[in-house]
């Protein structure tokens, strides 16, 4: 435990921070964690919010993966005194620690001139609002954004019997998740479920009257009881405006998660993990992922770094998934946008398929649709037989 901090303040009760704590305890960490989160429902699981949660009736469940021994201070972090490793809170004063770990995640991007009453989905409270609107009798929804969240919402709301229209500036659903691949397939499975798509079009205006909402796209008026904005997320770094950290797009960090100052120096004992952190690669470039898997690997890797280990957590290939329209969709590796997509397995009766995407056969990326066994074998580098 050489040089391991004894009091660690964590801002954000997320999967990344839960993993940091859990892995630290596993490795014999004997110090103290102080966790701050402004979300009154924290800690909870986010992936179900666009899916099972909207189909159910129960309350927001407290995540049972949260380490029991660590309590969460319900307050909003409003500033960081970087050199003193002190987090300023909106109430209950401030928290000083040997190390500060920032895990504030990302929040919904809102469209310019988006009127009040347009819903979005990021937090449990957002999901409760959507569910309440559907429970109150909404019959139709326009979803702005065909990314994974917008598509999952389309699937869930269609399942609840709403007439759903999805609008996106992109030509293909989940253009980023699939790196431009499988656009026709994803559009087709939306259409099969009765979802109407308007792709490659811009939203010109959003308005409402006493009856319903009108979303104007390319001169056409789409009417609905609900409008949900799912156009993407941006890192939650507003509260760090005066911290001196480099927050150009997320918090810029080195490979271990140590934050950089705007002047290019490394900030002492300030770290960022999860969606809010933008990591430096060997070639010096920075990239930021919004990924459950990556977030928890960041947490585990930082625990191992604190414990003085050479961590291999972040050497694993990226893994992402989405569940929608009766499909479990899994992605292994980084999909090259220009790469060749080859279907190597299909079982049409189960809507199952496995695709190899790659510039070469040596290190391909994989997309599995309802094919977890084939997908797993492929991502392990094994033959697809047996």
């Amino acid at each position: 435990m050489n040089g391991s901090p004894s009091r660690v303040a964590i801002v954000g009760a997320s999967v990344a921070s839960a993993m940091l704590i859990e892995r630290s305890l596993e490795l014999g960490f004997s110090g103290e964690f102080v966790v701050i989160d402004s979300d009154p429902n924290a800690p909870y699981d986010r992936p179900p919010l666009s899916k099972q949660f909207l189909l159910g009736t129960g309350p927001v469940e407290r995540a049972d993966w949260w380490p029991e021994s660590v309590t969460i201070i319900n307050a909003k972090a409003i500033g960081l005194v970087t050199a003193q490793r002190t987090v300023l809170l909106d109430r209950l004063g401030e928290i000083q620690a040997d190390a500060v770990v920032i895990a504030t995640g990302a929040g919904s991007i809102r469209l310019p001139n988006e009127p009040a009453g347009v819903l979005s989905l990021r937090t449990a409270e957002d999901a409760l609002a959507i569910r309440a609107a559907v429970d109150a009798g909404a019959k139709s929804a326009v979803i702005i954004g065909a990314g994974t969240i917008g598509s999952e919402l389309a699937s869930t709301l269609a399942q609840r019997g709403l007439r759903v229209t999805v609008v996106d500036l992109a030509q293909k659903p989940m253009q980023r998740f699939f790196s431009g691949h499988l656009g026709e397939e994803a559009t087709a499975w939306m259409h099969q479920a009765g979802v109407v798509t308007h792709l490659g079009v811009a939203v010109e205006s959003i308005s409402r009257n006493a009856e319903n909402w009108t979303v104007r796209v390319s001169g056409e008026d789409l009417q609905a009881d609900l409008v949900i904005s799912a156009v993407g997320a941006r890192p939650n770094t507003e509260w760090l405006s005066y911290s001196g950290l480099d927050i150009a797009n997320g918090i810029r960090c080195n490979a271990h998660g140590k934050a950089f100052l705007a002047n290019g120096d490394v900030a002492e004992e300030i770290y960022a993990i999860g969606d809010v952190s933008s990591r430096q690669a060997e070639d010096g470039s920075f990239s930021r992922f919004e990924s459950w898997t990556q977030a928890q690997r960041h947490g585990a890797a930082l625990a191992e770094y604190f414990a003085g280990f050479e961590s291999t957590e972040l050497e694993q290939a990226p893994y992402g998934w989405t569940e929608q329209f009766g499909r479990m969709i899994q992605v292994h590796g980084t999909l090259p946008p220009q790469g060749e997509l080859v279907q190597v397995y299909a079982a049409d009766d189960r809507n199952a398929a496995l695709y190899r995407v790659g510039p070469s056969d040596e290190d391909p990326a994989w997309i599995g649709v309802n094919a977890p066994r084939h997908f797993s074998r492929a991502s392990m580098g094994l033959s697809l037989l047996s």
Binding site: T293, W321, M328, P372, R373
Partner: protein, 78 residues
């Protein structure tokens, strides 16, 4: 650590456990995992820890029965 098992109600068929620790987990055609009989006590092994951590549904659990060692006797071997 006590015996590990896959909670069938939580498992959504990612098959990550099998990909990370094939010596301990097996999956069915739809990706739902279970612990290979005889491997219930492998919870401290590195690959199995990795599988537990990487399960997106947190479906790999430890059976809490009277036989399970007390929490403070748990030894991190990794």
């Amino acid at each position: 650590m006590g015996e590990i098992y896959v909670d069938g109600a939580r498992c959504q068929g990612h098959a990550r456990c099998w990909a990370l620790a094939p010596e301990t987990f097996e999956i069915d055609e739809e990706g739902y995992g279970k612990v290979i009989p005889g491997r219930e006590n492998s919870g401290d092994e590195l690959n199995v820890r990795k599988a537990i951590r990487n399960c997106p549904e947190r479906a790999i659990l430890e059976r809490s029965d009277d036989e399970a060692p007390a929490k403070n006797e748990e030894v991190a071997t990794s």
